[in-house]
Every structure is written in structure tokens, then in C-alpha cells.
Amino acid sequence: MDLEKELSQALRRKEPSPDFAARVAARVAAQAAPVVMPVTKPRVFAVPRWLPVAAAVLVVIGGVGEAAWRRHQGMVAKEQVMLAMRITAGKLNHIQTHVREAR
């Protein structure tokens, strides 16, 4: 039948209403959100939150370790001094005893 006729009728150019352009512009303005580009920091500068804590713990452990090491060194030095003095005192005592006996 009039398929062709119906088709041409359906596809015929139809002029938009006079306020069409204004309505489209208004809707676009209402819906479109501003496009914001996400700011991503370079990975190199991404510092994990736990890192400062870990660094602080290491500093504390290091400080305690150094104090312990210094104390150990001090005790070793003290033992060396006491050993040297023990030998010196022993020899002096021995010499003094012999000298007195000879008098």
C-alpha cells in the first residue's frame, strides 16, 4: 500500500518549535557539571602514613642502642682500668713488702 507514503511522511523534515534552542541551552546549562581534572600526585612523593612512625621508632631504637653501646664501652674501659690498677697495686705492694723486709 502506501508504505512509501507513510515512510516519507514519517521522515519528512519537521521544523522545531521556536523556543527549542533556548530550552536545549537551558537544560545543558543546568545539567552539565564543571569538568575537573583529578590532581594526582606523582607516585614518587606518595609517602605512606606509617613511614614517619617507623622512622621515629627507628630513631628511638637507634638512640637506645647507642646509649647501650656507650655504656658497654664504658664498662669495658672501666674493667681495663681496674685490671691495670690491680696489677700495679700488686706489684707495688710486692716491692714495698720486700723493701721493708730488707730494712
Partner: protein, 179 residues
Amino acid sequence: MKQCGVLLLVGWLAMPLPAQQFKFNLDHLESKASDTVDVNLNGSTLQFAAKFLDDKDPDEAKVKKLIAGLQGIYVKSLQFKNDGEWSKTDLDNVKNQLHEPEWSRILGFKSAEEGETADVYVRTENKKITGVAIIAAEPKQLTVVNIAGAVDLESLADLSGHFGLPKLEPPSPGKGKKN
């Protein structure tokens, strides 16, 4: 290269002089010794050690007082299993360095019976005591001590009352010394 040489020279000049006042010259005997005690403490180590000496302990308090201001304590003691491991030359190599006017022998004894000798020397500079040397030789033991710095002889002699050693009374003045 030239800068490197200059830096090395500056570094060498900046190095503190060793406080030990004479050479022990006993290293060659260490291989023969059954036991060796070698103590080398310079002034800074002594002052560091002094911080760890307990004032409440009589021995440690005495030592703390004695080492204040010292420049070093050097001890070498060699114990041998057999007689004759060291010679008179070894002893002379040490003693020959302790000569007048710097060094004076103030005390000593020689026991031919026990084959034992011991001497105490004092080093003086401008009438001030700047060091003490002790050389003690027994058939199976050789000990050399150098205490460098302003040594208080009375405090040193008073050590005999410490370290479990019997207290000796100070010698009465006017008596001659045994050589």
C-alpha cells in the same frame, strides 16, 4: 694528589702524640708467653672510664681519684710456663730508656735467691712528677707498667690497701732506700 698529600700531612700533625713515655719492647716475647695482659689506656679513655667508676666502692673511688688528670696507663704483663723464656737483654731494653735526668729510680729490690727484681722509676719535669714506671721481673713473669701524667705517689702507694691487698704503713722518713 698534592692536596691529598697536604691533607695527610695536616692529619698526621693533628694526631695526638702517644702518651706512653717509653717503649716496652716486649712484643717478641708474646709468642712464648702462656698468658699476656696488655692494657693501653690513653687520657680520653681514662676519663671516659672514670664516669663508670662507682664512688661508693672503695677500690673504684680510689682509682677514680688517682686517674683524674692522667694521660695514660699502659701495662704489659707476660706469664711464662717455664723459666728462662725472657733474658736480661729484654729487661735492659726497657730499663735503658729510663735514664737521668728525666727518670729516677726511687725504689727497687733484687732477690738473687728468688731470681726476682723490681724497680720503680719516677719521671719528673720542672720538679713535677709526670710519670711512673714499674718494671718487675720474676723467672716466669715479666711486668712493665707506665703511668703517664701527674701521678700522686701517695695515692699510688695507698693502693696497697685496696684490691684485697694488705695495707702497708708508709715508710718512716730518714731511712735509706734499698737498692
